[in-house]
């Protein structure tokens, strides 16, 4: 039963309340990165891992440091500091431990630091009052949902490279319209799960 709940949380975060298509977050990265499939995949992997870890880290810090000290109002500053610090550390460690991986994914790390989803996940965890496991699942679901969105979008934009989009709509405008259409399709998932 517990697992069923977590699964629902995961599906809801990934599909129904997909960050891009229903919560409208992470759009800058979403539009910036999906021009190419390779970068989308690289970003997806990096993003999902950072998301889960930062959800966990921030949960621990919030629960065991901020709440006891009454520093809840500093959440913005602290969460962004934690994410930035973690990303910096990951960057350094990865460079040392696995230069190959760093070469592949390092550039995305830099982009992530100030992404609004990365920040939204811990903020939502706090406001929804999720426990540790739930926070991780929420982070993971959000990451998977964001990755799915990026990969779909990249495949569509690759195909669109070959199409005669009216000049004024090339690039971002048509990408917004595609996103709108995907969001319309994703409405099909709505109502599957009540949260």
């Amino acid at each position: 039963m517990e697992f069923g709940k977590l699964f629902e949380l995961f599906i809801a975060a990934a599909l129904i309340n997909n960050f891009v298509f229903t919560r409208y977050l992470g759009l800058c990265i979403f539009f910036g990165v999906t021009k190419k499939m390779d970068t989308s995949i690289g970003m997806s992997i990096t993003f999902t891992s950072v998301m889960v870890i930062s959800a966990a880290l921030n949960w621990v810090i919030y629960k065991f440091i901020m709440i006891p000290l009454g520093l809840g109002f500093l959440e913005i500053v602290i969460f962004i500091g934690v994410v930035a610090g973690f990303v910096q550390a990951a960057d350094t460690i990865m460079k040392k431990v696995s230069p190959g991986l760093y070469y592949k994914l390092g550039i995305y790390l830099a982009l992530i630091t100030t992404n609004c989803i990365i920040l939204a996940v811990p903020l939502l965890n706090v406001s929804e009052g999720y426990n540790f496991i739930e926070s991780m699942f929420f982070g993971f679901g959000s990451g998977v949902g964001f990755s799915l969105a990026m990969i779909i979008m990249a495949s569509i934009r690759e195909k669109l490279e070959l199409a005669d989009v009216p000049k004024a709509f090339q690039g971002l405008p048509i990408s917004f319209i595609i996103t709108g259409l995907i969001a319309l399709a994703f409405l099909g998932f709505s109502g599957l799960i009540t949260l």
Binding site: I16, F73, L74, V77, S190, G191, I193, T194, L195
Partner: protein, 192 residues
């Protein structure tokens, strides 16, 4: 080394200054938030039960595993009615509802405290025309129908699920109140 010191110093000064700013703002705003929140809550209850002088918490319950409370409204010594907060399982969210019930166990009014239903469809439940449909309903009448002209609750077209969720939430809370209070108040009402 000197550079390190300089960097640290500049960071520390910024941190301290910013921390101070935030702390001051927090100190100023936190009490306001708290007071306003309480005011809003009591105002909401008051609005639902204008005839009561005093609304006292009478107990808690757990609709859908969430926290709900119920209150007795008093005018002097006399109970004027009940208030109960409840939830309904809607299209995409649990709908938080506050129900005002009279001594006769008929609904006096409802108010929607929070929900995440689809804007334009499910969120019609917030509209007055829909909330009015609950006024004066007894437990038996708290059932959703999709046609006009009955004494039951008519669904919002295009949002049957949300309508049903609200109705279920309301009827569950009336049921609870009946259980709790029918011993003291012989609530079996005349049906028409």
């Amino acid at each position: 080394m000197k550079e390190m010191l300089k960097i640290t110093a500049s960071l520390v000064i910024i941190f301290v200054a910013a921390g101070l700013v935030m702390a001051v703002v927090f100190a100023k705003t936190a009490p306001i938030v708290k007071i306003k929140k309480e005011q809003e809550e009591t105002a909401a209850r008051k609005k639902m039960m204008p005839d009561a002088d005093d609304i006292i918490e009478a107990g808690q319950w757990e609709p859908y595993g969430k926290k709900g409370k119920y209150f007795e409204g008093k005018k002097g010594e006399e109970t004027t009615g009940y208030l109960i907060s409840t939830y309904g399982k809607g299209y995409s969210s649990f709908i938080n509802i506050l129900v005002s019930v009279g001594k006769d166990m008929k609904v006096k009014g409802i108010s929607i405290l929070g929900h995440g239903e689809t804007p334009g469809l499910g969120d019609e439940i917030e509209q007055d025309y829909f909330k009015k449909r609950f006024e004066g309903k007894s437990l038996e009448q708290l059932e959703v129908v999709k046609v006009e002209g009955t004494d039951k609750i008519q669904a919002i077209s295009g949002a049957t699920i949300s309508s049903r969720a609200v109705t279920k939430g309301v009827s569950e809370s009336v049921k609870l109140l009946k259980e709790k209070y029918s011993a003291t108040e012989p609530a079996k009402e005349v049906k028409k």
